[in-house]
Every structure is written in structure tokens, then in C-alpha cells.
């Protein structure tokens, strides 16, 4: 039984790492109804910039601030050069634009910092910690704590502030937002900047785990089932979705692996996502559109 909980909690903690990536998607989806394919590239760009600055002798804090600044600049550029010219186009057009954008950002990252693999040390011991007889990864606990802080801050931002109300308004009806005096370009730039910040945090944690390399942009693929389960428009959903995926894949690997063959943790999340698509297409917390006919 203890072993079961150890696997479960390990899975939940690993799931938080997926949630971190998924939150970046949710932010942009909430504010503009666009699935931002470039989120993975942003994660990579942030991690690569940070680690390269660190290797060039920047102190940790300065490297963080400089990377954050570059993410904000990136957000402003995206708003000016991609979103503004494509305003009022169907979501599929915007999606295609983010697809192109992801290659641009990856190319830019490679152009600036080269293509080699970097190790990233955040100074958190990756030794298991023994709590009540269960072995838990310190690093995962740290990641979970970071994610929790991030989620609390974001939900305060969304629910308590003028900016948050504007954000929800823009997501709901851009034309009506104009009429109440909301500046769409500013809100879009802001959302992309916040998504960039989330990407930076995710990039650091994933980079520390896997090494900073180009396959880092593929973590988006793990975020997909999380989004399908949690719903594309809910930050809480991204967390719950991540937890479900994390726990399910680890438990499946341990308990089903011996029966149907090991290595199943790579595809279990997608099967789960498929099941959810059949039963609850909007996800657990997604907003179902209110349609009047």
C-alpha cells in the first residue's frame, strides 16, 4: 500500500510539470481563443536564453531578469507582427500563424545560442526525500511548490484585477471590449508576456530535468492531453488535468506494465485524452459554449 502511494504521489508531482506547460496554452487560449502552437518553442527559447546567459557568467537573478525581458520583447513583437495583422480572422488562420511562429522562434533561438545541448543546474538536489517511509523527489516537490505559487498569483490576477476582467472580456467578445474602452493590443501583448513568463518557469524546470536542448519544445505534446482533460480555458483545469495524467501514466506503468508490456506511460495519456474527448469534449473545466438557435 505504501508503495502504491509512493507511485501515486510521484505521478502527481510529475503531473505538475505537465501542468506548468499547459498553463501557458490556457492563458493565450483564454484571451484570444487561439491554440498557441508556439508555446513549446517559447519554453525552449526561454530556457536556452537563460542557460546561455548563465554560461556567459551572468548571475542567476540577472539571467532570469534578462530572459524575462526578452520574453516581453518577444510578446510585443508577436502582437505587432502576427496578431494585429490577423485580427478578426478565423481561429484556424491564427493557429497556422502560431505554427509558423514556433519555427521562427526555434530558428531564432538556434541562431542566437547555437544548437548544442546544455546542462542546467538550479541548485536543487535531485535526491529522493524520505517522508513517512515514502521516497519523494525533492525536485518534484520544488516544482509543485512553484506551480502552486504561480497558479495562485495568476488566479488573483484574473479574478481580482481590472486587467483580469479586461482579459476575460476580450476573450468573450472583442467588439464589445472595444466599446467599453479596452485596448486590445495591450491586452494581447500582456497575455503573451505572461505566457512567456510561464514558459520561462516551465523551461527552467524542464531544462533542469532533461537538459536544455531542442527536444524541449516537444513537451507541448505532453501538454495536449492535459489540456483536453482539463479544458482549454481553465487554469485550474490545467492543474487537475496535469495531476490526472501524471498519476495515471505512472500507475499504469507500474500496475499495467507487467501485464501488457512496459513503456506504456508514453501513450497512456493519449488514450485517456481520447476517452475524455468521447465523454466530455470541453474537458472537466472548459467552458461549454452557450448557443442560442
Amino acid at each position: 500500500m505504501e508503495f502504491f502511494f509512493e507511485v501515486l504521489i510521484g505521478g502527481l508531482l510529475a503531473g505538475v510539470m505537465y501542468s506548468l506547460v499547459a498553463i501557458g496554452f490556457v492563458l493565450i487560449y483564454k484571451a484570444s481563443g487561439v491554440f498557441n502552437f508556439a508555446q513549446g518553442a517559447m519554453v525552449l527559447f526561454a530556457a536556452l536564453t537563460f542557460v546561455s546567459l548563465l554560461e556567459r557568467g551572468f548571475p542567476f537573478a540577472w539571467a532570469f531578469i534578462a530572459t524575462l525581458a526578452s520574453m516581453v520583447v518577444l510578446a510585443l513583437l508577436v502582437e505587432k507582427m502576427v496578431l494585429r495583422p490577423l485580427v478578426n480572422r478565423p481561429p484556424i488562420i491564427l493557429f497556422m500563424a502560431t505554427l509558423g511562429l514556433s519555427y521562427m522562434i526555434e530558428g531564432l533561438a538556434q541562431f542566437l545560442w547555437g544548437a548544442q545541448v546544455h546542462g542546467l543546474e538550479l541548485g536543487i538536489a535531485d535526491e529522493p526525500l524520505e517522508i513517512r517511509g515514502m521516497l519523494l523527489s525533492q525536485f518534484d516537490l520544488f516544482a509543485a511548490g512553484t506551480a502552486a505559487t504561480l497558479v495562485i498569483a495568476l488566479s488573483l490576477l484574473f479574478n481580482k484585477t481590472r486587467v483580469g476582467l479586461s482579459l476575460r472580456a476580450v476573450a468573450d467578445d472583442p467588439l464589445a471590449s472595444l466599446a467599453v474602452g479596452i485596448r486590445l493590443p495591450r491586452i494581447w501583448a500582456l497575455v503573451w508576456a505572461v505566457a512567456g513568463f510561464v514558459g520561462l518557469v516551465a523551461g527552467l524546470l524542464w531544462g533542469a530535468r532533461l537538459g536544455v536542448q531542442f527536444s524541449l519544445s516537444l513537451v507541448v505534446l505532453k501538454a495536449l492531453p492535459v489540456l483536453i482533460i482539463g479544458g482549454f480555458s481553465s487554469i485550474g483545469g490545467a492543474i487537475v488535468g496535469g495531476l490526472i495524467i501524471g498519476a495515471a501514466e505512472k500507475l499504469a506503468e507500474i500496475y499495467l506494465g507487467p501485464i501488457i508490456g512496459s513503456g506504456i506511460e508514453n501513450w497512456v495519456p493519449y488514450v485517456l485524452a481520447l476517452l475524455f474527448l468521447l465523454v466530455r469534449p470541453a474537458g472537466l473545466f472548459g467552458e461549454r459554449a452557450i448557443e442560442r438557435v
Binding site: 498569483a153 488573483l156 490576477l157 481580482k160 484585477t161 481590472r162 486587467v163 476582467l165 479586461s166 476575460r168 472580456a169 468573450d172 467578445d173 467588439l175 464589445a176 471590449s177 472595444l178 466599446a179 467599453v180 474602452g181 479596452i182 485596448r183 467552458e287 452557450i290 442560442r292
Partner: protein, 266 residues
């Protein structure tokens, strides 16, 4: 139409607008006095909505200028219009359907908040008092338009007539000087139209809000408005009090009169 300059809130001067060569509005000029209810009437496609969109900055006129509250400019952006007290509603309701009635009305007060986002997040400093103020004012508007039984209902679930009223409430929450209403009574029955007219009249009287509205129901327009501007094919063909407009032969021919009355006359 001898409005003195100080009592004029909005003056359009030779405004023209075209979309890729198709003329929507051709050199239109008129003035709206502070405190009046002005109607824009005219057949479909006459350029009425386009004109409202020019006034609140959604479209930019190719030529001409307009002055609002004493300032003349070529163009105002939508957020500048909102900041300077122009609020509007749309022909096809533009509400935040996934938000409650109260939240919708609160977005109308978004520009009134002065505390920073840090204060708002942590409920420090000016934020809590400001929140209460915004909320109280929103509630007042909601009660004024008698939509309080639905204040926590998602707007998308409300019937059409109520949505129209919520949209009006959101515009009113901004405490506008100038209220632009694009067909506030479209699709309503006689009773609902009467109610909406009464609300518009009350807003005009109680808050001194200047109103420019588009309406097709001539009966309603004549009963409600102080000033009527008639458009046809993007041109102004009539401008005056309801009585003057009703007597204008060009207006009768283009809009009010039917073909039969025209042939009878000739």
C-alpha cells in the same frame, strides 16, 4: 438648427467614409446638442451604423472632422472615445456571454478604476474601497434598468429583450456623456419598445445623458426624440425636429412615404 457652440456636444463636419471604393457615407454634417435625444433614421444600408462607428472610433472617416466636447479631431480611437465619455450598444448585441450580468455591467466601469493591479491582486491600498464603489454603482445601474433579479445569471442564458437591457446597463455604467444606441428596440414587441423608450427617456432626464440612437419605428422616434437626422444612400436628406422632418417632402419620398402615396400625389 441654430445651436450655439457651447451647447453642442457633438458636431460632424463633412464626414465621408468608403469601403474599398464603395461609399458608405458622403459628406455628412450635423450637430447634436448637449442633453438632447437625437435619432438617426433611414432605410437599411443608409449608413447609420457606419456613422456611429465613426463617432466611437471603430471606423476612420476618409475625410471630414468631428468635434466632441469642444475638441476637434480627425479620429478618435475606441478606447479614447470610451475614456472621454462615449458609450454605445450594438445592433447585434455585443455582450460578454460567458459572464454574469453583474460582471458585464462592471466591465463598463473598468476605466473608472484607478488602483494598480498589485493593489487589486492583494486587496491593498485603494483597491478594496474602490471595488465596493464600483460594485455599488453597478448595482445602482442594474436596479435602475430593473434587471436585478438576474444579476448573477450568465448573460448568454437570458432572453433577447433582457440582453438588450443588460447591454444598455453596461453602457450606462460608464457614466457616459454621450450614449450611442444602435437599434435599441430592434426585434421587440410594442410593449417592450414602450419600456425601452421609457428607460431611454429616464436616462436622458435623470443623468442628462445625450443620446444618439438608430431606430426604424417612426412612431417611437417621433415620440421619443428631440431631433431627427435622416440618411439615405449615405447622404443626409433631412435634419430637424420630428415635426420638421415629417413635413420634409424629400424625406417623405425617400423613407416615410410609400410608393402609393407618392403616385397619388403626382
Amino acid at each position: 438648427m441654430s445651436a450655439t457652440t457651447e451647447s453642442v456636444l457633438l458636431r460632424l463636419d463633412d464626414i465621408s467614409l468608403s469601403f474599398k471604393g464603395v461609399k458608405a457615407i458622403t459628406s455628412i454634417s450635423f450637430a447634436v446638442k448637449t442633453g438632447e435625444i437625437c435619432a438617426l433614421i433611414g432605410p437599411n444600408g443608409a449608413g447609420k451604423s457606419s456613422l456611429l462607428n465613426v463617432i466611437n472610433g471603430v471606423y476612420q472617416a476618409q475625410s471630414g472632422s468631428f468635434s466632441y466636447a469642444g475638441q476637434t479631431r480627425r479620429r478618435m480611437r475606441p478606447h479614447q472615445a470610451a475614456e472621454r465619455g462615449i458609450a454605445r450598444t450594438f445592433q447585434n448585441i455585443a455582450l460578454f456571454k460567458g459572464m454574469s450580468v453583474l460582471d458585464n455591467v462592471l466591465t463598463g466601469r473598468n476605466l473608472k478604476r484607478r488602483s494598480s493591479w498589485v493593489e487589486q491582486m492583494l486587496r491593498l491600498g485603494r483597491a478594496p474601497r474602490e471595488d465596493d464603489e464600483q460594485r455599488r454603482h453597478a448595482e445602482k445601474v442594474i436596479e435602475f434598468l430593473r434587471i436585478h433579479p438576474w444579476r448573477h445569471v450568465l448573460v448568454g442564458k437570458l432572453p433577447y429583450g433582457l440582453q438588450k437591457r443588460v447591454e444598455l446597463a453596461r453602457a450606462l455604467a460608464a457614466e457616459p456623456k454621450l450614449l450611442l444606441l444602435d437599434e435599441p428596440m430592434a426585434g421587440m414587441n410594442a410593449e417592450e419598445k414602450g419600456e425601452m423608450s421609457q428607460f431611454i427617456r429616464d436616462i436622458n432626464r435623470e443623468f442628462g445623458t445625450t443620446v444618439v440612437l438608430i431606430e426604424h419605428d417612426i412612431g417611437v422616434v417621433m415620440g421619443l426624440c428631440d431631433h431627427v437626422v435622416v440618411l439615405d444612400y449615405g447622404r443626409k436628406i433631412g435634419d430637424g425636429t420630428p415635426e420638421q422632418v415629417r413635413a420634409n417632402p424629400e424625406v417623405i419620398a425617400a423613407y416615410l412615404g410609400t410608393r402609393r402615396t407618392r403616385t397619388e400625389r403626382h
